[in-house]
Symmetry: C2
Subunit: 339 residues, 2 copies
DNA sequence: GTATGAGGGTTATCCGGTTCAGAAGGGGAG
DNA sequence: CTCCCCTTCTGAACCGGATAACCCTCATAC
């Protein structure tokens, strides 16, 4: 019933614990014959190295952490995190690394979790997501001296390694596309204003529109309700926009429904672009023009870099591919009337 | 730079390691004054118990595992798992338990992960989800003797504790509602046929319709594409259904789009019901009638039971609340024509 | 024949905390 | 005053591996 240890193997094989340790770790110091015998016995009795015992000797914990500081209801809806996690997992699994996950409600709690995991030697490093401006977590993690990969813009990641993609470029492409279609009044329904990537998009949006189109940005909490509310307000204004860019697809879908409700036809009267191209974007009518990016790959890149950091390599900031625009049925030429 | 240990505290306080251990664990054997002094020092230098060292003494790992055997693309879309996880997290966080997560691609791999985690003393127990018929994982986990909570129907969970909800009841309520609205030809676009809960729903659906309505069930892989394809086929048939019940909301949305495309108006010509009421169901037009259940609570119940199991208590199967029907705009009286 | 060294093992220690068997010191009962 | 017990604390062993250092044997080189 008890889990077998190397001592058990040693006594069965008639050698010392050390010989077993060497044999099972591929180290020199045992003959091929002895090694084979030991490995066979280990196999037979189903021995696994006790991770605690290994960790005690300063070995890696073979585990990295991720704390998510978002309300459950938002996590459930946004496919982003699940896709990111599955990308991360793909890389971790290959190296037998596990992912320790925790949903928290504040940055203080998040920092505390990291301190605890690190202090308890449970993890070898962490991912930091949803960067804020003047993010307190950055300083705390720098101080801990723990390997960290920030999934977000390097301007705010301090001395921590960052993996990021150029949202500005994606915004410029989108605005250029809409302007080319004749749109001169473009709105943006953005996510949480305290997130760095939101501000990056905000600024790129304002700049890209400057001189070529009127523009307005409304901030929300990423939920469908707020996306719907924002859309309702925008479409009720006398100078209503002819195109709206949403920061996620659930808001885009909500916005499209509101438009329908208000007898504003998509894409005839209103063009809609969604950020992040989950399957959802393709099942609604019309299908959503979306900013497509490979989120699992994004996570995979972050994971690779974190493992490299843990291995002691130095990791420069990595810029992942920017999201590219996938035109579908929700965008079209700007309406003549109303301009 | 090195993490402080109880030996450091001991030397500072001028006592032995043992006194420190007793003091910090609330055990008798140290005076109140000494205890206070030790605790103060520990606090000051930021000591944390090394989880590896504790685990080595047979202590709990304070960690439970969850392996998900679904393709990444499906995980990303289905809000179910993220909501389940956030519910689980809520309970675990209170008890300082961590969740070890792994995405796998086969049951063999999943069993192997569990064996490894358990063998390595990394976890104290696991959740088992997406039960199949004659699920090989059940036997393997029983054999390991590890605490397990099955999130799924107890009929297939063997000797493992189950937390489940009566999908049959929800199906009956739905069919009753549709029949009351006059529907006499009802289709069901179901999920993966190998999952137990799919079959449970299948059977309940067939039974509930028996004698009161024609019925047909089509199986899919939960993706929007397959949901759309199934809907297209159903609506193209000469005896097309007047109501369709979908096993998740992404398929329901896809189905609704297909209907629109085929000039089948919802709810005038076709009523649609979605299983699982994510925010998505409320942002589309018309909003989806859905089978609502509190998934985070479901996860929380499972987590509570797993912790109880780990604590050595015996845990009878727990039946969570069944999903309840939330009527919205996507359902209405059956059309007269075509009957 | 002796030095040299490689191959194959072993012993002793350590990692950081827990636990058990005692050991001092103090107080009360007889 | 002695015996006994209780409180408070300590030394040593232990958990399951990793690792440094050393030991023995046999083969080869000089």
């Amino acid at each position: 019933m008890k889990r077998p240890t190397i001592a058990d193997i040693a006594s069965r094989a008639g050698v010392s614990k050390v010989a077993v340790s060497y044999a099972l770790n591929g180290q020199p110091g045992v003959s091929a014959a002895t090694r084979a015998r030991i490995v066979a016995i280990a196999e037979e009795i189903g021995w696994r190295p006790n991770s605690a015992a290994r960790a005690l000797n300063g070995a890696r914990a073979n585990c990295v952490g991720l704390a998510l500081c978002r309300p459950a209801r938002i996590l459930g809806v946004e496919p982003f995190f699940m896709e990111l996690i599955s990308g991360i997992e793909g890389v971790l699994a290959d190296r037998s690394y596990a992912l320790l996950l925790q949903v928290v409600t504040s940055h203080e709690q998040e920092s505390e979790i990291y301190r605890r995991w690190w202090g308890e030697s449970r993890i070898d490093g962490v991912f930091l997501v949803d960067l804020h401006y003047s993010d307190t977590r950055v300083g705390e993690l720098e101080q801990l001296g723990m390997p960290v990969v920030v999934i977000g813009h390097p301007s705010e990641s301090g001395s921590l390694s960052a993996v990021w993609s150029d949202d500005g470029e994606a915004v410029r492409e989108t605005v250029g596309y809409l302007v080319a279609l004749g749109h001169r009044r473009i709105a943006r329904v953005a996510g949480l204003p305290e997130l760095v990537h939101t501000t990056v998009r905000d600024q790129a949006f304002a700049q890209a529109c400057e001189g070529v189109a009127e523009h307005i940005t409304v901030h929300t909490d990423y939920t469908g309700e707020e996306g719907a509310r924002a859309t309702r307000r925008l479409l009720s204004s006398p100078h209503r926009p002819t195109a709206i860019v949403y920061d996620n697809d659930i808001m885009a879908v909500a916005g499209m429904s509101v438009a329908q409700e208000m007898r504003v036809e998509v894409p005839r009267d209103l063009s809609i672009v969604a950020w992040d191209d989950s399957p959802l974007a393709q099942v609604v009518r019309p299908p959503l023009t979306a900013l497509t990016r490979d989120i699992p790959a994004y996570g995979a890149h972050a994971a690779q870099r974190l493992l490299a950091l843990i291995a002691g390599e130095s990791v420069p900031p990595f810029e992942d591919q920017a999201a590219v625009l996938t035109p579908r049925g929700s965008t079209g030429p700007a309406p003549h009337s109303g301009m």
